[in-house]
Amino acid sequence: MIKVGFYPGCSMKGGAQEYQESVSALAKVFDIELVEIPDWNCCGATAAHNMSKELSLSLPARIMALAEKEGITDIVVPCAACYNRLSLVKHEMAGDPSLSSKIASIIDMKYEGTTQILNIIQFIDKYITDRLEEKVVKPFDYKSACYYGCLLVRPHSVLKFDRVEDPQSMDVLVKKAGGKAIDWAFKTECCGAGMSVSRTDTVARLSGNIMKDAVDRQAEVVVVACPMCHSNLDMRRPEINKFLGEKIDIPVLYISQVLGLAVGLDPKTLGLNRHMTEVKFPAKPVIEAPVAEVPKKVSTTQNMEA
């Protein structure tokens, strides 16, 4: 069993419990043990770097220092916001030794900067992708709009992850899971993020535009990798529909849930029941369903080519 460090952050323990459930379940299928960093703290999120620079550096630095103490080299950070904070702090400290030693004295811990911060897609690519296709038993045969949002890919100069203006990594995973990733225009547009509480109308407009474009291009599901995006596109659906004046009812799934479904995990294990917008997919015309194994594999490859 491979052991990988795991930083849940607040959302995994709260509103995005199903994200953690699905990541853990998926890891288990591929014999990966997620080791939660002991005594972890808040990453600082948006609040810290608006208040105090030192605080915004110290919080993620302590998390990474804790991981180093445990001998962890790779930390998977499923929340895009946490991933962004940890990566940025690691980058900033690496480029400034005096800052690094100052922060180390604030957190009163040794900080080397040796841990690798992986977002959910990097984690899957490093540990799962190679073995993914052979484990697919139930191809996720739906037109998927992969939505990346902002924090997963920006700033490109630091994260150096994917094509910043037209990311493809999630699309590739969805295709490997047997799905069809649609080409659409709102992959990295703003969902409204933290305005969710203070300016719900703004979120309704911004997230509404995203959902509208996805539906206009015949998406049957939106796939995300960020709890914030998920809550805006899923939980704010009534406001979105009110803004658009129509009824959009396609579900929003985490990439880990999509892969989980494809490898045969049941919806409840993946926490699909926890979504605000009911997770239901359009019925597919049953053609070769009774013939079990072989046709399924054929359909997987067909979808891949598509």
Binding site: H156, D166, D183, W184, A185, D213, D216
Partner: protein, 666 residues
């Protein structure tokens, strides 16, 4: 006993700000063998040089050390001054106390001490200097022009009209370059083809110009005045002497669906083709990668229809060797590739095109005969968004420079569009309008005022297709970054001008330097804009940096004058700082044992075999000999010689040893 003069320069404040020049002169003046030492504010100035000349005469100096800047700039100046005072110029050396000392250290006693050390070392070296005579080499009065765009054409014609021979090499099947693709030119809106094609024809017909199209430079050896160039003339699969250019083969070729590079993929061409109707030479080539015969082994329709039987399927590439005296680089530029702009959908949406493609759409000889029709469905676009600075001035894209020509051609595009589609609305998104140049600003004003182009200051964040329209999202920064969304029918990107593909490899082939963007580097940004750091190789046009037509032409004429000046001499003088094989009296003749290890490592093929014969004509010893004309004084042979038989004039082992010892024996 030597009589050396030391001249310490203040270089204004460049040196004297951190080095005590007077002290350097005083201390070094006390060195053994130094007859005279002084300091002066500007040693390179006329009074400074006079000071040196008079000191040489008055004190009967037999060696001079000028402690000043890097020898790159002023060594020739001081050596010339010494020569005028009757001293052999190679007895004069410079000690670099500016770049190597005053500029890199703070004002401190140690800095002055370092300057003293540097001067002392050079004094010891000069004591061992020998009087040398310059080497004379002949000049081959033929110029090679690489690239047949407007810059290459101008340079070639100017040189040829001075009465010198020119060899022009162009890798495309026709000369003309990017200018032949343009519809009209700013700021006068005169037809590009109309002013260019007469020049193209002149090149082809000029008695002094030999033109090789579909050819590339394979290698360049030698040095200024005496380059030896190998040109690979790619096979056109055609006997050019027999071909009359009737064009029958191009109309009968069954393969007709190859995207036409000249039309930026907006039109198709056959496998045997002439790139455009006014091509020079107007004879076709077979594109072997796409020709049915070369792919499948049968077809040969062109051979069957050719009335003069000029098709040659088995023709091979030909290597041509030409000796030339000077080289003009005129290889031009390229524009950014589609993968650069995923946010604009360039390469994904057919109606997002680049500026060169728009030139073809607007051109009377283009794929739409000059009608502005969008590529996807042939409709006349009612709204076109022009995006300036697509890639340029964008550190995130890795291109920090301004591509310079885009502001002007974007204004021109908007005008041409408006002149052809009267009810159309052109929008231009820009960062700044850079219209410096004669009649340029007035031209942009015309586009704004008379042709009602909507200029919006701001950048585009994204472009996507929706219901057959291109949704362009941007911001108007003059309206407080107000979001702007335009439903356009077509988008034209003014993509950044970049170094031409293959520029880096070519620079390495001809041995010239280039900048981080792979544009060829000039010798001095202000005072030597058309020279390279390699003597005898000059720059013309956009291979150096993005340039518009007038600038390219001006640079080309500048380069041509440099070549003509070089060719005005029958012989060139070279510094005699070359390797030499020791010679001694018989019966030893030389320390050289004739192992010829030096021959195998010499990068310039400058080592020859010399046979020493007795009176009966029998060979009694074989030695290495250095061809002074070829030797560049790199010293590789010296390092390798097992018997220490080779040394370099001016940088002998003994001199270097003396320098090191002078530093150690403080």
């Amino acid at each position: 006993m030597s009589r050396i003069g030391v001249f310490v320069c203040h270089c204004g404040e460049n040196i004297s700000a951190t080095v005590n020049c007077e002290k350097v002169a005083k201390i070094t003046g006390e060195l053994k063998g130094v007859e005279f030492a002084t300091d002066y504010k500007y040693m390179c100035s006329d009074p400074g040089q006079t000071l040196i000349k008079e000191a040489i005469k008055e004190h009967k100096l037999d060696g001079v050390v000028v402690a000043a800047c890097s020898p790159r700039m002023h060594e020739p100046t001081f050596r010339k001054a010494c020569a005028e005072a009757g001293l052999n110029p190679f007895l004069c050396e410079m000690s670099n106390i500016r770049e190597h000392c005053s500029w890199v250290h703070p004002k401190d006693d140690l800095t002055t001490e370092k300057a003293q050390d540097l001067v002392r070392v050079m004094v010891e070296k000069v004591k061992k200097n020998k009087a040398l005579n310059s080497i004379k080499v002949p000049v081959t009065k033929t110029a090679l022009v690489i690239g047949g765009g407007i810059a290459g054409i101008q340079a070639a014609l100017d040189i040829a009209n001075c009465g010198h021979k020119v060899v022009m090499v162009e890798r495309q099947p026709s000369i003309g370059g990017h200018m032949s693709q343009l519809s009209e030119t700013f700021p006068t809106l005169d037809c590009s083809q109309c002013i260019l094609t007469p020049r193209m024809v002149e090149v082809a017909q000029h008695p002094n110009i030999t033109l090789y199209t579909y050819a590339e430079v394979e290698s360049v050896d030698g040095f200024i005045g005496n380059f030896n160039v190998k040109i690979r003339k790619k096979s056109k699969s055609l006997d050019e002497d027999l071909c009359t250019g009737c064009g029958l083969c191009t109309t009968k070729c069954p393969q007709k669906k190859i995207p036409n590079e000249f039309e930026r993929g907006l039109g198709m061409r056959p496998a045997i083709y002439v790139p455009f109707p006014q091509a020079v030479p107007n004879k076709p080539v077979i594109d072997r990668e796409n020709c049915t015969y070369y792919i499948k082994g049968k077809c040969k329709v062109c051979e069957i229809v050719c009335p003069t039987k000029a098709i040659r399927f088995d023709q091979e590439d030909e290597i041509i060797e030409v000796p030339v005296g000077a080289i003009v680089m005129a290889t031009g530029f390229d524009v950014l590739k589609p993968d650069f702009f995923p946010e604009y959908g360039y390469g994904k949406y057919k109606d997002v095109i680049d500026g060169l493609a728009f030139e073809r759409l607007a051109s009377a000889s283009g794929p739409t005969q000059g009608e502005i029709r969008r590529p996807s469905d042939g409709q006349i676009p009612k709204k076109i968004v022009f995006v300036a600075c697509a890639g340029s001035r964008d550190p995130a894209k890795g291109i920090e420079y301004c591509s310079k020509i885009c502001c002007m051609y974007t204004a021109k595009h908007a005008m041409l569009y408006k002149h052809k589609v009267h009810d159309g609305i052109p929008y231009v998104f820009y960062m700044d309008i850079r219209a410096g140049g004669k009649n340029y600003e007035e031209f942009v004003r015309r586009a704004i005022v008379e042709d009602e182009t909507q200029y919006i200051r701001g950048r585009i964040s994204t472009i996507y297709e929706k219901n057959g329209k291109l949704i362009v999202k941007g911001a108007d920064t003059l309206m407080g970054a107000m979001p702007v969304e335009i439903e356009a029918d077509m988008v034209v990107l003014a993509t950044a001008g970049v170094a031409n593909h293959g520029a880096e490899e070519l620079a390495q082939t001809v041995h010239i330097s280039y900048d981080p963007y792979k544009f060829f580097a000039e010798a001095h940004p202000k005072l030597k804009p058309v020279e390279t750091n390699t003597a005898g190789i000059f720059l013309a046009g956009a291979c150096q940096a993005p340039k518009d037509i007038p600038e390219s032409v001006a640079a080309a004429s500048g380069a041509a004058v440099k070549v003509a000046a070089l060719f005005s001499q029958d012989e060139l003088t070279r510094d005699p700082l070359v390797a030499v094989v020791s010679r001694q009296a018989p019966p030893v003749y030389s320390q050289c044992v004739g192992c010829f290890l030096c021959q195998s490592v010499c990068p310039y093929q400058a080592i020859e075999r010399e046979e020493i014969k007795n009176r009966n004509g029998e060979v009694i010893k074989t030695l290495a000999r250095v061809n002074e004309g070829l030797c560049q004084g790199c010293g590789t042979c010296v390092a390798l010689c097992r018997t220490k038989a080779i040394d370099i004039h001016g940088y002998s082992n003994q001199q270097v040893y003396t320098e090191v010892m002078a530093l150690l024996n403080d």
